[in-house]
């Protein structure tokens, strides 16, 4: 019997478990999760803060009933302490207790996720300092927001912006701090500028250009320093992205890649053949460049989980690579980013050019009624490797063609003809 141990109960680990069980129903699968809860849909965290979700069970994913029916054992509140790759064992402990034990495995899947990245400034131990990657941290934000008049949100990801929006809805004065620009790795510079303008109009106070420093106050945060100003605030929320959670991997013999995440091949296998790594703790293969990159994104975690699960259960499948695709609606702006931006392309030494087709869209009804900023990122031979859209409505009209073109590695000239035809078909629509 194949004993598969999965460390981490996020989407990567859970999808690995389900796929492993489907592949080999006779395998014994154990998932341990550090968080003392059942799995949940992370994009629902802003709903918790805005108050839109009242019953957290609605955010439950991969419910215990499903896992039990499949015969997967899920232990919450249990964390891995160390890995002994020679003897195929993991030392585990119950969170916040001294109870510990060992679990033996035949195949191990590491999906510990990421840990919120924090700046190196003083005062981070004060009350009112929050992150937002887990349910617990979201509850803290909720708790502090109740007696706060103002908040500073630091960082430039989608969820950070959503949380800023939620706090503004709750009536707080919200500052949004970003060192360089909004969604830097996802959008081109002029799109970031546009959003800064829009969000300012909506009431966010943008602190752009420099990181905040010096968190002041006694036990609770009372102010921060930005440039030379002291800004009064009751809470500071850091959403500066995540770093791979790889503490238990260090000195275990499992190799890390240049990105600091666990190095894997196209089977999501580490340098040790019976150990796999997926999700925010691991690297993943980029479809367009064939490079291994760090993509801490839910969908890629789940897709990687599928590959690892099947391979750990005796299968032999490879990924051709993953495409990042993200979308969100913030302050009424639909923001879509698929594949590479000029920034992320540069990180993998891919030479790209950015084509703006916003004007092209204005030749059609839909683009005149709902002006869209649309960028297409092309390689030197005109292959589409990325796309970005900002619009008020009907963003998916554009994304559908762009996403397909990317997945099929289409040439730009080929795409743009089809795109014009599809927009032309929408002419005269009463939008």
């Amino acid at each position: 019997m194949n004993r598969i141990l999965i460390v981490g109960g996020g989407v990567a680990g859970l999808n690995a478990a389900v796929n492993a069980k489907r592949k080999d129903p006779s395998s014994k699968i154990i998932i341990i999760s550090k968080e003392p809860y059942n799995a949940y849909r992370r994009p629902a965290i802003p709903s918790l803060i805005s108050g839109e979700i009242t019953d957290w069970n609605e955010a439950n994913i991969f419910p215990l009933k499903l896992l039990n029916n499949l015969g997967i054992e899920y232990f919450s509140g249990v964390e891995a302490k160390s890995i002994d790759v020679k003897n195929n064992t993991v030392v585990v402990a119950k969170v916040n207790t001294n109870e510990n034990g060992k679990i033996e495995y035949d195949n191990l899947i590491l999906s510990m996720g990421g840990i919120p990245s924090m700046p190196k400034i003083s005062g981070l131990d004060k009350k009112g300092i929050c992150t937002f990657t887990t349910y617990d941290s979201a509850c803290e934000i909720l708790k502090y927001s109740k007696d706060s008049k103002s908040a500073v949100v630091v960082g430039a990801g989608f969820i950070g912006l959503e949380i800023a929006e939620a706090l503004l809805k709750r009536g707080l004065k919200v500052y949004f701090n970003v060192r360089s620009r909004i969604l830097r790795r996802l959008l081109e510079p002029d799109m970031s500028d546009y959003l800064i303008k829009r969000f300012t109009e909506k009431g966010l106070i943008m602190l752009v250009g420099e990181s905040i420093s010096d968190i002041g106050g006694n036990s609770r945060v009372s102010n921060i320093k930005y440039k030379n100003d002291i800004i009064e605030t009751d809470m500071v929320i850091f959403g500066m992205g995540v770093n791979p959670s790889v503490d238990i991997v260090k000195n275990s013999g499992i190799e890390l890649g240049e990105t600091g995440a666990i190095k894997v091949n196209n089977k999501m296998q580490t340098n040790i053949p019976n150990i796999f790594a997926v999700g925010d703790c691991a690297e993943s293969l980029d479809l367009t460049t064939g490079e291994f990159v760090y993509y801490p994104v839910g969908s890629i975690a789940a897709l990687g989980g599928e590959i690892a699960g099947i391979n750990a259960a005796g299968g032999n499948i490879e990924t051709k690579g993953f495409v990042r695709a993200q979308a969100d609606k913030i302050f009424g702006e639909e923001i879509i980013s698929i594949g590479h931006s000029s920034v992320s392309a540069k990180e993998v030494n891919l030479n790209v050019k950015v084509v703006d087709i916003s004007e092209e869209s204005k030749k059609f009804d839909i683009g005149r009624k709902y002006p869209a900023l649309i960028k297409v990122v092309l390689t030197e031979d005109d292959t589409i490797v990325g796309a970005q859209v900002i619009t008020k409505k009907y963003g998916s009209v554009y994304s559908y063609g762009l996403f397909n073109a990317m997945l099929n590695k289409e040439k730009f000239s080929n795409f743009i003809d089809k795109w014009r035809i599809s927009l032309n078909n929408l002419e005269n629509l009463t939008l």
Binding site: R41, P43, S47, P63, I300, A302, A327, V397, N404, L429
Partner: protein, 172 residues
């Protein structure tokens, strides 16, 4: 009735959006419309009435045979179990990544405001099991939206052909 399709008689659609309201209520926790009325603003519909000049049409998931959303979903939360069956989202497997929404050619997938899971028309499979029609169908005041099998649809078409023929030559 399984394997049915939603068919719209476009010339009967008034663009009154009753189908949107019926859909929103049918997919809410409210059993009684009277209770739902005051919460309508927070309910979400999965059918959308779109207009083009004098032409209007209620649009919902096309339940594609080779559905892009089924292929793109990383957790297989979207499934089409039978060739003639509906494409359905298993919300408990939906991780909220929005890839389906980005790839859908018809723009009929949306996000649940509360749980942030993807939602779309499920052909009211719950109601079908109880022997009812989909909510948009039973609610349409002009019977512009129909839920019928392929056989019935073909029969309707055959009758229309005969009617047209009769109008032209049969009356003599």
């Amino acid at each position: 009735m399984s394997g049915g399709y939603i068919v719209v008689e476009v010339n009967k659609c008034l663009a009154c959006k009753t189908c949107e309201i019926e859909c929103a209520i049918a997919h809410s926790e409210f059993k009684d419309k009277k209770d739902a009325v005051f919460k309508l603003h927070s309910l979400q519909h999965r059918v959308f009435v779109e207009k083009m000049k004098e032409f209007s049409i209620p649009l919902q998931c096309r339940h594609c045979e080779d559905a892009p959303c089924v292929k793109i979903c990383p957790t297989k939360a979207i499934e089409k179990r039978e060739i003639e069956g509906p494409v359905v989202i298993n919300e408990s497997l939906c991780i909220g990544c929005k890839r389906c929404l980005l790839i859908c050619p018809f723009g009929v997938i949306s996000i649940n405001h509360q749980s942030r899971a993807s939602i779309k028309c499920d052909l009211c499979i719950g109601r079908l099991k109880e022997g009812l029609s989909p909510a948009c169908v039973s609610g349409c005041p002009t019977k512009a939206i129909k839920y019928i099998s392929i056989d019935e649809y073909n029969k309707l078409k055959r009758r229309r052909v005969i009617k047209e023929y009769y109008e032209r030559v049969g009356k003599k």
